[in-house]
């Protein structure tokens, strides 16, 4: 089995989906000869032609609006938005159209489309290149939001997203695109959307994370557990919406303690939703208040100070000790 980086796993999934389904069409800015600014589509235009890997005019509204029409008329568009902060000119097409087409037309038309973009900070990029706004998408009824951590799940979940009958927002961990390598099967496979995975079973405390923060969380835990004897259960959400509440609640009922680590702004976010679900369904099992370590309710700072926004190892461990020592 070959070892792939995240960006290579994404490319592999796109390649296999285009081989399998002639209705898959990639559209976005600079995805052709350049292969996308992160090279996620490198070589695909050469392989599948300019009609299937389409460099569009520079317009997120045009890309996502056209994708709605393509999807409603039988295609499987996979749109690339270059950076997370640039999606908003096209957000109208997601919230007002893609997410509603099935209900609006009572099933006569649907929008099976995927919108991919790199998310999260830490690569010293410019403003609008580093946001973690999964909560905004997850708060939109009708969308699904997937945010894989590593290469294996990026491939399996992207293939599942392209097969999915509804619109899927697919966030890719920007600062780990090339930092993480994993063994990835060469063949076509899917992983279920809406299912979290227990990365490590444990009895003392549940730690929940996903996407880019999964790696920061793992690193912090590894360093901490080298000299502390705590039996941590680590959950990787993989999908933000629909949320796998069953896996989360079962785990918290077992451990009685929970730490949530996300990069998004704190208020009204994924961590807040998890805390709400846990108090609704596992309150009497809790031995400590749930703790969340998140980004701040600030805009993502410029590159000079972005590392102060992204949860650090110290903040993650402080959160862990807070929930353990309550």
């Amino acid at each position: 089995m070959a070892e792939l980086k995240i960006v290579e796993a994404v490319r592999d999934a796109l390649d296999l989906s285009m081989q399998k389904d002639p209705n898959v069409i990639l559209l976005g800015e600079d995805i052709g000869p350049l292969g996308g600014v992160f090279r996620a589509t490198q070589g695909l235009q050469e392989k599948y032609g300019k009609d299937r890997v389409v460099d569009t005019p520079l317009s997120e509204g045009g890309i996502l609006g056209a994708a709605v029409g393509l999807a409603a008329n039988g295609m499987r568009p996979v749109a690339e938005i270059q950076f997370s902060g640039f999606i908003w000119p096209g957000f109208d097409h997601l919230i007002n159209h893609a997410a509603r087409m099935r209900t609006r037309s009572q099933g006569r038309f649907t929008c099976p489309m995927v919108v991919r973009f790199p998310a999260g900070g830490g690569i010293h990029a410019l403003e609008h290149h580093s946001e973690s706004m999964e909560g905004a998408f997850a708060h939109t009824p009708g969308l699904k939001v997937v945010y894989p951590g590593g290469p294996y799940e990026a491939k399996g979940l992207l293939l599942a997203a392209i097969e999915d009958p509804d619109t899927v927002i697919f966030m890719e961990p920007e600062r780990h695109y090339r930092a993480i390598k994993e063994e990835v099967p060469a063949e076509y496979y899917t992983l279920p959307i809406g299912k979290a995975v227990v990365e490590k079973a444990g009895n003392d405390v549940t730690v929940i994370s996903y996407g880019s923060m999964l790696w920061d969380t793992k690193k912090a835990l590894n360093n901490y557990l080298m000299h502390k004897n705590v039996d941590v259960e680590l959950i990787n959400l993989r999908t933000i919406s629909p949320l796998d509440t069953e896996t989360v609640v079962n785990s918290v009922k077992k451990t009685g303690r929970c730490l949530i680590v996300t990069e998004e702004p704190r208020s009204f976010g994924v961590a807040a939703e998890l805390m709400a679900v846990i108090q609704e369904e596992a309150l009497l099992s809790l031995e400590a208040p749930v703790v969340r370590v998140t980004g701040y309710d600030t805009i993502m700072p410029y590159l000079e100070t972005e590392m102060f926004y992204i949860p650090t190892e110290e903040r993650i461990i402080a959160g862990l000790e807070k929930v353990l020592n309550y």
Binding site: G65, A66, G69, A72, M75, S105, L243
Partner: protein, 359 residues
């Protein structure tokens, strides 16, 4: 003038509106009028009358509390009939919200449109054999969707062009720019049909753009254009036909600006007396589409008062039956709001659905 000459690219800037019949019912281009049969002319007339009666009935349903807010098509019947009947079965219609007539002409049953304005989503479930997207309420948002649909047709070698209708206000939205730019660049079979009815609620056309015409905006995108008298049903029909032909044969998008006038209020909750003079409306009444065609078909002996009386009676009866069908239609099961969100309900939705049913 020949029919093949009516669409212009940036090299042939339009100086006057395309017209076949003037407001007095005089023939401007006999050779172009001859492209339409006598039966078609009478059919156009009947449809316009039928739509006006249906439109009045819809307003009446709102006024009597049996329907929600409704946007009247009064004054725009020529645009609606010319575009709706210009489409072929293989084509698509991507409508804005002021399209009662267009959708009806294209095959969307009128009772469904009434049901939609009554607030029942079933009204938007288009028949399987009618390629029509549901009504778009967001102004201009549906233009890129129309482009995407035509793009899918091109990719899948499906026949048919896509006619997207919208008003003058929509041309100020970024999506107008995005859609025409994409269509021009990717060369899709799109007809962008702007019914410039003079107003976006209260805002006059003059506030939307400093451009002399909306049609001329097409040239910036490498898209062909025509400005047509939107109260001349024959001119609208011929323009739409020619644009669809051009789009299908050459994958060349076309922008049609049909200049018309919204004789009614924006919707049933609007009061247009607050922002326009009665004199202006009276003058525009004189140019309205139905009277114009009636003058012509009466003058040529195709129509008389006896036929008129019979038509009015038939239309009234027909529209009453359709309204009754909408009024007595089964209410939407409210649990539909949960079950229709995704192909399969998410666990959270399932839970909310079950809680709702227990209430």
């Amino acid at each position: 003038m020949e029919i093949t000459e009516i669409l212009v690219d940036q090299n042939g800037f339009p100086t006057e509106m395309f017209q076949v019949l003037d407001p007095e019912g005089n023939v401007v281009h006999q050779n172009l009028l001859d492209l339409v049969s006598i039966e078609q002319l009478v059919d156009f007339y009947k449809w316009m009358v039928k739509i006006r009666i249906a439109d009045r009935r819809a307003i009446n349903l709102q006024r009597t509390g049996q329907m929600g807010t409704y946007p009247s098509v009064y004054g725009q019947e020529a645009c609606q009939v010319g575009s709706g009947l210009g489409l072929e079965k293989e084509d698509w219609l991507v409508p804005t919200f002021r399209e009662t007539g267009t959708m009806w002409c294209f095959g969307v049953p009128l009772y469904q449109t009434l049901l939609y304005w009554m607030g029942n989503e079933t009204g938007s479930k288009m028949p399987e054999d009618v390629n029509c997207l549901p009504i778009a309420i967001t102004v201009g948002g549906h233009l890129p969707h129309a482009m995407g649909i035509a793009w899918a047709n091109k990719r899948q070698n499906k026949p048919g062009a896509v006619l997207c209708s919208f008003g003058d206000g929509a041309t100020s939205e970024g999506d107008f720019h995005a859609a025409l730019n994409f269509a021009g660049q990717i060369q899709t079979a799109n007809v962008f049909f702007c019914q410039n009815n003079g107003f976006a609620i209260s805002t006059p056309r003059s506030i939307q753009t400093a451009a002399k015409s909306i049609a001329q905006k097409a040239f910036a995108y490498g898209v062909k254009a025509i400005q047509v008298d939107g109260n001349d049903v024959v001119a609208v029909y011929l323009a739409v036909k020619q644009a669809l032909k051009e789009a299908k044969e050459n994958h060349t998008p076309v922008l049609i600006e049909a200049v018309t006038y919204r004789l009614g209020d924006h919707t049933t909750v609007d009061n247009s007396k607050l922002y326009r003079a009665d004199d202006e409306v009276t003058e525009m009444q004189r140019r309205e589409p139905i009277a114009r065609l009636k003058k012509y078909i009466e003058a040529t002996g195709l129509w008389d008062e006896a036929k008129e009386a019979q038509l009015l009676e038939e239309c009234k009866k027909g529209v009453d039956e359709i309204a009754e069908k909408a009024l007595t239609h089964a209410k939407l099961d409210p649990k539909n709001m949960f079950t229709m969100m995704y192909a399969e309900m998410t666990p959270a939705l399932q839970k909310q659905h079950d809680e709702f049913l227990k209430q």
